[in-house]
Symmetry: C2
Subunit: 274 residues, 2 copies
């Protein structure tokens, strides 16, 4: 970890855009004494359709900006970046790096009874097979059925959280998974918790939903405690948000849906071309 | 224009991603002797939700890559970049720059009888007011009704060109425009011609569709002829495609829908971080 990082240093959180605010919101609830610095790479959002090399490069650059803010831990609040870039970040940086995949996989294995687990996410996350691998390491006989859901992020970013169009899209994505008899569904994208009520409605009461944002926050708490980096109760927690492009539309959707208090949004430049 | 540019130099075409291939396809049909070099900035797609400053910066960088390929003209096959970045490109580069907005506006004014014109596009294109301004300059009494349609590009990129979900989304976007009595609808995004049959079905036979790709190709032909840069019939035309990220999924959708022959796709790096 960075030599200057102390208990009062901020938790650095990044996502390709705004979806990772679900993780920031879970961290705020769970760790109210922590300062959180959130950086959304809205200049290059989304990562979900891009190649491993590009997602790695972007993730390294954004993590560097978090470390420049004195972050004591890097939280990869993006399933695509977690699936593709965490090993590279762990190679390059001494600070602990926490992604969303392992906590989600762990929770899914705890929740399932039948061992039939569905995973939904972006095209890149699903193609990486990261959830499947992580789940199989924990429970080798698990059956994992995956479905890329590329239209969900655009629908969420448009604020169509309760909408018949969204329900129709969800039905199309989930029907093949439901037909396989899954009893647990991993929401493998940090945007998806915003759609939890609609997903629960379409999936039905027999399916447990695994919220990767919530489980990531629990893993961050454990990691900070293990490393002696947790802020004590004497600290006043806060959330600062910075974006790489001034596109605040969806930010306000998330702010409202997550009941987050976000003040002025800062800007950070990426790439030398700026 | 660049001092080395000659009649045999390629036409440089760029878009934030793959949608601009509708312009490349129209150029291939209209100007079969021309060599076309197409560059899609798939590493940073989409531009449609990003700020003017960011879209300008990306457009300048990509145009520089086209000039490095010896392009004799820069065709901005992206409505967002046309709306936001063409003035900046014209300031910086000596090569002629052709966007898609003016040709589309001109065609809309020629086609309308009632003077009531609808425009659909990305959020950034609609917010810029570029079509409205261009149409009003040509016909000051025109009434222009605009509607941002942010879900259409994701639906098109998923290949849902004929699908009830796409029809439901289109209906929601077009109903307010149809209620205003438009007789002409500008497809203000180079992706949208791939959706022409569905749009025509939802808009009904009383509404003329204006295809900005087709009209842009006509404007390029005129500009090349005026500048003495048109390739003669002795030249063998071709299409080369390069992308800034290796994400070929939608490329194959477009290739099939547009009946284009695209061979190997080249890669071009953007940003120093690569």
């Amino acid at each position: 970890m960075s030599e200057e990082a102390t208990q009062s240093s901020p938790i650095g959180v990044f996502d390709s855009g705004i979806g990772g605010l679900t993780v920031a919101a879970a961290l705020r609830r769970l760790l109210p004494s922590e300062r959180i610095f959130y950086l959304g790479d809205t200049a290059r959002v989304p990562y979900g359709g891009k190649s491993r090399r590009t997602v790695e490069r972007y993730s390294v650059e954004i993590s560097g900006l978090l470390l420049a803010e004195g972050a004591k831990i890097i939280v990869v609040a993006c399933n695509t970046a977690s699936a593709l870039a965490v090993p590279r970040l762990q190679e390059l940086f001494r600070a602990p790096v926490q992604g969303v995949i392992l906590p989600g996989a762990k929770s899914a294995v705890e929740k399932t009874r039948s061992g039939k687990i569905g995973v939904i996410g972006t095209r890149a996350t699903i193609r990486s097979g990261a959830y499947e691998q992580a789940i199989r390491q924990l429970r080798p006989d698990a059956e994992v059925f995956s479905e890329p859901c590329p239209l969900l992020v655009p629908l969420i970013e448009e604020g169509l959280l309760e909408d018949e169009i969204t329900d129709a899209v969800l039905k199309r994505y989930l029907d093949p998974l439901l037909a396989r008899g899954i009893d647990t569904l991993v929401l493998g994208c940090t945007h998806y918790p915003l759609l939890s009520p609609a997903i629960a409605r379409v999936a039905g009461p027999a399916v447990n939903l695994v919220d990767s944002a919530e489980n990531c926050a629990l893993a961050v708490r454990e990691l900070l405690e293990t490393r002696g980096l947790a802020a004590g109760p004497v600290f006043n927690g806060s959330l600062r948000v910075a974006l790489t492009d001034a596109s605040e539309g969806f930010l306000r959707v998330a702010e409202e849906a997550l009941e987050l208090e976000i003040g002025d949004v800062e800007l950070r430049a990426v790439q030398s071309g700026s």
